[in-house]
């Protein structure tokens, strides 16, 4: 029985693609000048990841090691091209933003990594769960980074969300700091690195707090065990 909870925890937090594995960095940096862009990229990657994992885990028994990588890459490339065409056809505005980086999902090392590390050795269902979790993990990371950069850099959040999600989601677009002068550096290239750096610090801090609490909990049961006997 596969431990789905663990898969989820790994994908979403402890083995997060960006914050723990530190892969998929190029799209992370390049398209996260706003939270909306991050969301779009995350969803596109999620789609490719899910598709690739499903296919690869289905056909894994037929593939010989010598041509393993080319086969995986071809499959991923196909999915990416599909995504590219679909976005181009049906979400042109988003396409203008994500541009080149959709094509680069192909070499997004994280996808090939997942294919090799997980899909090629696990069952279809496990692979689906894993890719979903990893993909969602990536998406929230992208949204997070985009959000931080956007708020600090220009004082808004989810600007242009309607372009991605449709007019009904225009309510997401918030101006966090009205009349903000803008801290330009955060929306420029350096801001991406700096934002990821500080978010990593935040994750580390939270992890550490968690560990401390765990340790405290671990020491408490001793005292609790004694209580019932009294």
């Amino acid at each position: 029985m596969t431990d789905y909870r663990r898969l989820a925890q790994d994908g979403l937090w402890s083995n997060n693609m960006v914050f723990a594995q530190m892969l998929a960095l190029c799209p992370v940096m390049a398209v996260t000048s706003t939270a909306t862009n991050g969301l779009g990229m995350g969803l596109a990657t999620l789609f490719v990841l899910l598709g690739a994992n499903m296919i690869i885990s289905t056909i894994r028994h037929f593939i010989s090691p010598a041509i393993r990588i080319p086969v995986y890459i071809v499959i991923i490339a196909t999915l990416v091209t599909l995504t590219d065409m679909l976005i181009n056809a049906f979400a042109y505005e988003l396409y203008k933003v994500l541009g080149l980086f959709i094509a680069l999902i192909v070499v997004n090392c994280a996808i090939l990594g997942r294919a090799e590390a997980f899909a090629s050795r696990n069952t279809l269902w496990d692979s689906i769960v894993d890719s979903l979790m990893m993909g969602i993990g990536l998406t929230w990371a992208l949204v997070m980074i985009g959000g931080v950069r956007e708020v600090i850099g220009s004082g808004t959040l989810f600007a242009n969300a309607h372009l991605l999600l449709g007019a009904p989601f225009a309510f997401l677009e918030i101006t966090v700091i009205p009349d903000y002068r803008g801290f330009l550096i955060m929306v420029l290239p350096p801001g991406g690195f700096i934002a990821v750096g500080f978010l990593l610090v935040a994750k580390r801090w939270i992890d550490r707090r968690g560990e401390q609490r765990q340790r405290r909990l671990a020491s408490e049961p001793d005292s609790q065990q004694h209580q019932p006997s009294h």
């Binding site: 002068r181 803008g182 801290f183 330009l184 550096i185 420029l188 350096p190």
Partner: protein, 361 residues
């Protein structure tokens, strides 16, 4: 048992805080001149920079659980704050100063582990980041002549420093580097551009052109630098390297195309060149550790600054050049190192050399 004390049991006189305070002393003449040149707003700026640098230092020392008292007054935060003040536009509002010292002291120094651990020059990196983040405020210059003709009152200066006045509009002017660059870009010949400034290098030496607060007087800065050199706080390699790096390409291009490229002295005495030469590239923390390494470091800073000034988008390239060379310091330190006694420069033991016999004692 008490742990034994290891030798040596004698130490030289020079201690770190002394060095730092000597740097502050060396900066004083240029700063006082800056007060006179730019009036109260400049003084406010200086004050805000220094005090906010100290506050950030204290806050972050606290945050990282370091003894605040022992580190706060080692003078390094003051030097950083002071130098940052000197390279800001003289009438910059207070929040530029506070953000700048935050970037310099907290982000570029304390996060790296505090004094001595930073890899980028805090003052320069903060200046660059401010420039990129607030390009408008960071390129508003005051014309000294106008300021001295009609000094704003202290109360008005408070408003200016508070960022709530449009006083600046009536005093503003471009820096020499900026205006020369822009007019050269519009294909005006250099001789025409510099017509109003026929004694360019003399005035810049004394410093009466618009520019950053402390970069105006090349002469006073040089004086401070020579003082540091005399006290042994700095060595000559980096300053000389920087000046050569600026002067050599300027000489060559000026000789070839006198109407398109300003001469050597122009580059040497405008913008932040002198401040950088004596106080920035000499920052021990962010420079290579060997003498020849420091020369190369200075030379690189000069050449890059010239490149950026002349061919890039920014009128002043010193700060970028320093940051770029800062990032090359580990590489320099790796390849430029003293030859170890008894080893070749590659680190191999030397061949054994027999003493020559037959020589009469």
């Amino acid at each position: 048992m008490k742990a034994p004390i290891h030798g040596p049991h004698a130490h030289s006189e020079s201690h770190l805080p002394v060095m730092m305070y000597q740097v502050l002393l060396a900066l004083t003449p240029a700063t006082l001149y800056g007060f006179w040149l730019y009036g109260w707003p400049a003084f406010n700026l200086w004050l805000v920079c220094l005090s906010s640098a100290l506050v950030w230092e204290a806050v972050f020392l606290r945050l990282f659980n370091k003894p605040v008292k022992t580190h706060l007054f080692d003078g390094s935060a003051l030097v950083t704050g002071w130098l940052l003040a000197l390279c800001l536009p003289p009438w910059a509002p207070w929040w530029i100063a506070v953000t700048g010292t935050f970037l310099a002291v907290a982000m570029l120094k304390q996060i790296f582990g505090g004094l001595g651990q930073n890899v980028f020059n805090p003052a320069m990196a903060a200046r660059v980041m401010l420039l990129i983040a607030f390009p408008v405020e960071m390129t508003q210059w005051v014309t000294p002549a106008q300021q001295m003709a009609q000094r704003p009152a202290f109360s008005a200066s408070l408003q200016q420093s508070g960022g709530q006045s449009d006083l600046l509009d009536s005093y503003s002017g471009a820096t020499l580097l900026d205006s020369v660059k822009q007019r050269l870009a519009m294909d005006e010949p250099l001789s025409e551009i510099l017509q109003g400034y026929d004694d360019t290098w003399l005035t810049t030496l004394l410093g009466s052109h618009a520019g950053s607060f402390g970069e105006s007087s090349a002469l006073l800065l040089m004086l401070g630098g020579l003082f540091l050199l005399w006290r042994g706080v700095i060595t000559w390699q980096a300053p000389v390297g920087l000046m050569l790096g600026l002067v050599l390409p300027a000489l060559v291009l000026n000789r070839l195309y006198p109407d398109a490229y300003p001469g050597a002295l122009f580059h040497l005495f405008t913008g932040g060149a002198m401040l950088a030469a004596w106080f920035i590239v000499t920052d021990p923390v962010t420079a290579p550790a060997t003498a020849s390494g420091r020369f190369i470091f200075g030379l690189g800073c000069g050449l890059l600054a010239y490149l950026i000034r002349t061919f890039g988008s920014y009128p002043e390239g010193i700060a970028f050049a320093v940051m770029l060379m800062n990032s090359a310091v580990p590489v320099i330190d790796r390849y430029i190192r003293p030859r170890i006694y008894g080893r070749s420069s590659k680190g191999q033991p030397l061949p054994v050399q027999k003493i020559k016999t037959g020589e009469q004692p």
